[in-house]
């Protein structure tokens, strides 16, 4: 992993201001920082959701995130990347995931941030279980996430 990067899976909340400040302070060659924060919504598939539990595969999850960041660095000139993903129990409004990408120019920062999210959604072993009024249920994978990830695959390359 590149020394400017940070990839973490944690139960504790993260502070986007602190994470942004860390990445911004690394280099005055950085002209652009894109970020994505995924938040827990209070509804899903039309049902109220009062809590969510996130499970992961310790070891494999972190390795998958590092591999996704490494892939992003092969495609775009990035100065720094941060990926933080929470596990455990979360309440509506809480942040689940943060991706920050720093580059000299905005196009690369935006593309890398979106790429990392798309691949994280389909390749990093996390599973969500929702608490609804009708009981708890595991969230199903979305075909739209597969579609989002598939658009980064170059013609003729199936990696």
């Amino acid at each position: 992993m590149h020394p400017a990067d940070s990839v973490r899976v944690q139960t504790a909340p993260f502070d986007i201001g602190d994470e942004h400040a860390r990445i911004a302070a690394l280099s005055h060659a950085t002209g652009a920082i894109a970020s994505f924060t995924g938040l827990m919504r209070d509804t899903n598939e039309g049902d109220a959701v009062r809590a969510m539990t996130l499970e992961h595969y310790p070891g494999m999850t972190e390795a998958a995130l590092v591999e996704i960041v490494t892939d992003a660095r092969k495609r775009w000139a990035l100065q720094a990347v941060t990926v933080v993903h929470r596990v455990g129990t979360l309440l509506p409004g809480e942040a689940i995931v943060l991706v920050l990408t720093a580059s000299a120019h905005r196009g690369e920062a935006f593309s890398a941030c979106e790429f990392i999210m798309d691949y994280l959604k389909t390749r990093a072993p996390f599973w969500k279980k929702e608490e609804t009024p009708a009981g708890s249920r595991w969230v199903d994978a979305r075909a739209s996430d597969d579609d989002a990830a598939a658009r980064w695959i170059d013609d003729g390359v199936t990696d």
Binding site: G38, L54, M60, M117, L120, W127, K129, W138
Partner: protein, 83 residues
Amino acid sequence: MPTLLYFARLRETFGVEREQVPLPAPASVAGLLDALRARGSVWATELAPGRAFRVAVNQRVANAETAVADTDEIAIFPPVTGG
């Protein structure tokens, strides 16, 4: 013996988080899945061909042809839903 790990919905459905199983014959993911399906009930249903589940061998995504050795860690889990 290979170690098997189950995650999320499959962990709950099987009622087991981790177990050790004899090296299957053939010693591949396909062989292992056949051995598990032979247990019947939820094992046969959840791991039926065409069902959406994933297999990792030593924390790398695997497919039916991936070889399985005596000290391997093999994980079976549903499609991921993080982020």
